[in-house]
Subunit: 326 residues, 2 copies
């Protein structure tokens, strides 16, 4: 727990006078991560005669939102020097055909990362769980397969891919300079892509972690004990400022569209945290947009570069201490 | 949270007068589980002309403690009607030889469960992680492989084997008649066989769960909030009675030997909870010995029977609602 002495040195808390929380910018941090990766990729490429990390994004169908997300990923890959390939299967694709495509990429030695864009937009029923688990654990840079989830949940951190959103949250927490070890972290939500792996990451970075969810009857009380709060609940502005512990680190994974007549399109994006009240009590807070969002794509790139480095470790006499960071 | 009204109806709390906690007997519950399984096995056996669930226990070396644990497992299997086979490899066995043996059992259709007795007692270095992960997830009745850990940690409860000790703890909690949903559970310890899967089980049974461990600076405070406390810390009598919330359910997974001159052998077994003070405040408590210990073997038998039932579901036109319980 932070002592009152420590709190006095925290941004946002200066004696009896209260300032607003320090904003943790995902836009800036994401830029830093991408710049670092670009340098790493250049280094690998010069050492291994033009070798480049390679990522495949597999899409079934033509959803507009998926098209947008994929183009963001391809753009980030191009910036960093990752070779990214967009594989498209038509809406008529069956589960069997999607599996065949996954297997073929699994067996392609020149590919280091494979992600399947969800949701699958097929006219047939496809079990997304079967597809994500068919991705080779060694190429599963989204970190969504059972094997990677099992490794992360049991603390085998050096041997797994961490899902991109929680990995991005950890990167943002690091930006505060506050050590996670020994802190009380509260996670709201237990989804496979945010809440559950976030719990694991905080736990194995030695926080005491409380997992809250839709069946938690006393959410404000639980939240009030959090030195670090990560919210992935999917409910617009549900966490109010007066629930927070003074000086807490607040990481908001929510992306919700709420009606707003003053905006073009009649809506605006808000997080799961009520920002204008939360930044009166938090020590650090992520904005929405510009917080966790931009980090997700950067951490996908990070996982792809780590995967390529592991490939080089296995196939060449190459060593690097950076590989251990994943 | 329990209201004071609910507490008044709790064993151990009667108005202003305080009685001792109700003891949750693992010995009795374990007996009930084994009796139930025996009936199930008889039913399967009569429906499928003598079919019996089959378990292989693989041992490397000759450790005395392993010999004792294995004989307890074989005895329980015999009582229930499970066909159990003890495979022994000598101390000279290499990792390669152990892996070959695991693969051979994986491929043997007549075997439904395979456990590797740990620790491996070999003259060579063997990576226990590699061995436990080589066990087919469909036969991994100890629930220790990455795949089963991943399924459990992400809430795929119908499709996984749950590690035996936490599964036994859940069975003991059920005996109290108190619903887990909406309660605040605190787990002390984050080991692969107790703490980490216990967190998952409580979470996916809809408790709000706090995970504490060696880096938790305020353990008494965390424990004081627990409606349900599960301790798997491996430290003799570390949890004191006055840390507890009045009426809490206390499940003690500890087995520690402490010096005691009054006993034959000069020592006695105690748990991780200081029993004589804890039973003054808890509503329910497990004793040590006779609490969690006997449950572990029973739940191994339960997993083996479930595995055999799944095998029948796949290979025969057999249905049972009991299979879904695993």
């Amino acid at each position: 727990m932070w002592s009152s002495l420590a709190l006095r040195h925290c941004p946002g808390f200066h004696g009896s006078r209260r300032f607003l929380a320090t904003v943790i910018s995902g836009t800036k941090t994401s830029r830093l991560v991408k710049d670092r990766l670009k340098v790493e990729v250049e280094k690998i490429s010069s050492e291994f005669s033009g070798f480049r990390p390679s990522l495949v994004v597999l899409q079934v169908g033509q959803r507009d939102d998926s098209n947008l997300y994929i183009s963001t990923k391809l753009k980030a890959a191009a910036e960093i020097g990752i070779e990214a390939k967009h594989l498209r299967l038509p809406q008529t694709a069956t589960q069997e055909e999607v599996l065949e495509c996954v297997m073929s990429v699994n067996n392609d030695e020149s590919v280091h990362g494979l992600i399947v864009q969800l949701p699958l937009d097929s006219a047939h029923f496809i079990d997304a769980e079967v597809i994500t688990n068919a991705v080779s654990p060694e190429k599963d840079v989204d970190g969504l397969s059972c094997v990677n989830a099992g490794r992360l949940s049991r603390g085998n951190m050096n041997n797994c891919f961490i899902p991109c959103t929680p990995n991005g949250c950890m990167e943002l927490i690091k930006q505060t300079g506050v050590s996670v070890e020994g802190k009380h972290a509260v996670v709201i939500g237990r989804s496979k892509i945010v809440g559950a792996p976030m719990h694991d990451l905080l736990l194995w970075n030695h926080a005491t972690v409380t997992c809250c969810h839709s069946k938690t009857p006393d959410l404000p009380e639980q939240v009030s004990r959090a030195d670090i709060l990560v919210v992935g609940a999917g409910r617009a502005e549900m966490v109010l400022g007066d629930w927070l512990k003074e000086g807490a680190i607040v990481i908001d994974c929510g992306i919700n569209h709420v009606p707003d007549d003053t905006k073009v399109g009649g809506k605006r994006v808000v997080g799961d945290v009520h920002y204008s009240s939360a930044n009166q009590r938090a020590g650090f807070i992520t904005p929405v947009p510009g917080g966790v969002g931009p980090m997700t794509v950067s951490m996908l790139m990070e996982n792809t570069v780590r995967s390529a480095q592991r490939f080089l470790l296995k196939t060449h006499s190459w060593t690097t201490d950076t590989v251990d960071r994943c």
